[in-house]
């Protein structure tokens, strides 16, 4: 029996790819480990390697085919000990491989249509770009504008960014301003804080915020506190940025939302964009801000496309939330990827006649309490959604703020949706149970409506 070669998944988030090019032709003998074909994904071009030795007997998907779903048979290999007669008798359609268990890849349909803005200028002339491109453009524009701005981090230069945010920047700005580091987070974070004291404007990329834990002493003790300790003499204009929160199936040490950790600390501003416009306008504002900024991105949002304004002058104010969708029955407050899920939850609720208002916080410190209070005055019910753990999370803070500022308007206790109170498990079913899902938000909204 010939062995089918299946379209491989090459990253935690890939569902389909382009079969760019066959590197072997029918009849070629292959050893295990030989490169068979090149596959293109949104992030990269990769090779498919043969797992079994034998002869490449048939190519089922020709070079240049787009949109080949993961697990589609793309070729047949005739095992080493089989004679080629068997090939002729082989069924044209190979037995389909066992389907993968519970989908690992969170389905992320295109983002909901943008609603009216209240947290900044409305996009004038827009283009459709990914969050990844928005971040890259923001960095590039600010580096063009101010020669004291530089980017430092692991794999930001020659590799073009571990998540391809810094694509092209080394080529445009050179190695002086796009600096690849050794794996020494505490060292280079501290180094950049020192450089900021001396008047430079570093952008520190953490490959993910999980690794910023190595550097958190420098972020809090050196970056956040110095302006105060120096009686205002020293400033630290620096941006610490990178993906935050769980990606897909990368387990406990690589899946954590640090929003509440940083939001806890005076001397920092903490920003968490959702859309491409957020990413661009807020990152540019962060780079220009004279304070240390924690800029929390989300890997799963990087490839999503949104309308975003063009031009180097588009800035969004740090500290202002945005109402993504208006509604009168219940307020959903979220940030980063949870805005996307909240918008989906609002769609579901709408079908049941519940009009949810969705607030994209954008900034967690300062927190735009007035915007939330205004919304609660109208809806009288609120659910906070986050990927942090529940204890002392962002939702806890929002609950406290509502007690202090909106107590008389609440018709139900503040609802919270968060990551389960456990280190994130790897198993697909447990992971799904632990990360907030649309249905959890819907249920929480109904619960504060006593429905």
């Amino acid at each position: 029996m010939p062995i089918p070669v299946l379209m491989p998944a090459l990253s935690p988030t890939m569902t389909e790819g382009k079969l760019a090019n066959w590197l072997k032709k029918e009849g070629d003998r292959v050893r295990s480990g030989d490169a068979l074909a090149e596959i293109e994904t949104d992030k990269a071009t990769m090779e498919v390697e043969a797992v079994d030795a034998g002869v490449l007997s048939k190519i089922l998907v020709p070079s240049g085919t787009d949109g080949v779903a993961v697990n589609t048979p793309i070729a047949l290999i005739l095992g080493e000990d089989e004679d080629s007669d068997a090939q002729a008798k082989a069924p044209a359609e190979p037995a389909a491989a066992k389907p993968a268990p519970v989908a690992a890849k969170a389905s992320e349909p295109a983002a909901a249509a943008p609603a009216k803005t209240n947290g900044g200028p409305a996009p004038a002339t827009g283009t459709v770009i990914t969050v990844r491109e928005a971040l890259r453009d923001a960095i590039a524009e600010e580096m063009r504008r101010d020669e004291n701005v530089f980017l430092m981090g692991e794999e930001v230069g020659e590799y073009q960014g571990a998540y391809k945010i810094s694509q092209g920047l080394l080529q445009e700005f050179g190695a002086k301003r796009v600096v690849d580091t050794p794996i020494t987070e505490q060292g280079f974070a501290g180094l950049c804080v020192g450089a900021a004291f001396a008047g430079l404007r570093p952008i520190v990329e953490f490959m993910t915020f999980n690794f910023a834990m190595q550097a958190i002493d420098q972020i809090i003790n050196s970056a956040a506190k110095t302006h105060y300790m120096a009686g205002g003499q020293l400033t630290c204009p620096i941006v610490f940025r990178g993906p935050n929160g769980p990606a897909a199936r990368v387990a406990a040490q690589h899946s954590q939302d640090f929003a509440s950790w940083y939001a806890h600390c005076p001397g920092l501003k903490v920003v968490a964009p959702y859309s491409a416009a957020d990413a661009k306008g807020l990152l540019k504002a962060a780079i220009r801000d004279p304070n240390p900024i924690i800029f929390l991105e989300h890997e799963i949002l990087y490839g999503q496309t949104f309308d975003a304004p063009e031009g180097p002058d588009f800035l969004l104010p740090i500290g202002k939330a945005k109402i993504e969708r208006t509604g009168k029955d219940v307020t959903l407050v979220a940030y980063s990827r949870m805005v996307h899920l909240s918008l989906q939850a609002a769609e579901v609720l709408a079908k049941e006649g519940i009009e949810a208002e969705v607030i994209n916080l954008r900034s967690l410190r300062p927190l735009d309490v007035p915007t939330i209070v205004e919304s609660v005055k109208k809806t009288n019910r609120i659910v906070a959604v986050e990927e942090c753990w529940p204890v002392a999370g962002i939702g806890s803070e929002i609950a406290a703020q509502m007690m202090e500022h909106a107590f008389d308007y609440l018709d139900a206790p503040v609802g919270r949706v968060s990551q389960a109170d456990v280190p994130l498990p790897y198993a697909a079913n447990l992971e799904r149970l632990s990360i907030p899902q649309v249905e959890n938000i819907v249920a929480a909204a109904k619960s504060v409506l006593y429905r």
Binding site: P12, E49, D180, T181, P182, N210, V250, D421, P425, N429
Partner: protein, 354 residues
């Protein structure tokens, strides 16, 4: 051919061994590596099992049965097989996320490892840890750690416990060339030397930390000298030759067992695959990879050595190949059939209940 296979892939590989303070110019022979025929053939089997396991894991990843990060050890098999051959039962082992080979070399069951990769209940962490996080108290294997550098103080702590308890054990602490630059590694070296802790620091120098070559990440790339300022002896070893690895391991472990404190081994090796499954590996040429595979492969080299020196014949090796294939196929089947963990597992094991 009497010489054991020698790695020749790059200038650095060719230049080994350059261990300090002792003559090692003589080619390695069966005698001087003091491994008997059965043991050498066993090395072949163990390295092959790791290779086949990793190839299978790569395949299951492609099918969506394994997800997240998955770092393969293909190319580096001789390091862990040669070193673990020098370990005793009471010794402990700790490593990074590139851990599948280490677990197999510690005698952990391929089925349990593969079932953890698929996130199922028969996995070593009952599906909760995945590729990067597996442990076995029974085999003294302490993980499986995802934060680069963090496992090095942990290994130093395991050695502290060996000394504290007086159990005669040594910790084998494996990490990468990239990890070697983390501050906590340097801190660990100092404490280990200061307190004469029985730990072998094994730097697996596979030339890259993700997409960054050692020359772009390290001001000096003589990793075996990284403990010098603390007085830790170090050796650079051809990590593509299991017999040379074993010989170096014996020297290191003797040092640790006799109370002289830590030892540092730089294993010069190479990873054939990308850093993880989603690494397009554009930072090195295909020629670089295929040259090393063709000229320095640790398994091909040992196979040739075994045949040339008559330790086994082709039929015997073919039989081993077959057995390994069966073993790995069974592990993969087991890993697909094992059910997902029970939902109640979500909230277990967070704290030890008292």
């Amino acid at each position: 051919m009497t010489a054991a296979p020698r790695a020749r892939g790059t200038t650095e590989l060719r230049a080994v061994p350059t261990s300090r303070g002792q003559a090692r110019s003589k080619p390695n022979t069966r005698g001087d590596a003091s491994a008997d025929a059965d043991q050498i053939v066993g090395f072949y089997r163990d390295m092959l099992a790791i290779r086949r396991f990793e190839e299978k894991a790569g395949q299951l990843y492609g099918m969506g049965l394994i997800a997240g990060f998955c770092h393969l050890y293909i190319g580096q098999e001789a390091v862990v097989v040669g070193l673990q051959a020098t370990a005793n039962k009471q010794d402990s082992v700790i490593t990074t996320y590139r851990d599948h080979g280490h677990m197999l070399a510690c005698g952990m069951d391929a089925k349990g490892v593969m079932a953890e990769l698929t996130g199922r209940r028969d996995g070593y962490s009952r599906g909760k840890g995945g590729s990067m996080h597996m442990f076995s108290r029974e085999k003294n294997f302490y993980g499986g750690h995802g934060i680069v550098g963090a496992s090095v103080p942990l290994g130093t702590g395991l050695a502290f416990a060996h000394k504290y308890k007086g159990d005669g054990g040594v910790c084998y602490c494996y990490f990468g060339d990239g990890a070697a630059n983390q501050g906590q590694v340097f801190e660990s070296f100092n404490m280990a030397a200061l307190w004469k802790l029985p730990v072998i620091f094994v730097i697996e120098n596979n030339k890259y930390g993700m997409g960054t070559s050692i020359n772009r990440a390290s001001a000096t790339t003589d990793f075996y000298r990284r403990g010098e300022v603390h007085g830790i002896p170090g050796l650079r070893v051809n990590g593509m030759n299991v017999l040379e690895v074993k010989e170096a391991g014996e020297k290191a472990v003797a040092n640790c067992r006799t109370g002289k404190g830590p030892y540092l081994l730089e294993m010069v090796t190479y990873r054939y695959r990308g850093h993880s499954m989603s690494d397009p590996a554009k930072y090195r040429s295909k020629e670089e990879v295929s040259k090393i595979r063709e000229e320095s492969d640790p398994i091909d080299g040992l196979r040739k050595y075994i045949l040339d020196s008559g330790l086994a014949d082709d039929a015997e090796l073919k039989e081993i190949d077959r057995q390994v294939k069966v073993q790995i196929t069974e592990a993969a089947e087991f890993a697909q059939q094992s059910p997902e963990p029970d939902q109640t597992e979500l909230y277990t094991d967070v704290l030890v209940s008292v």
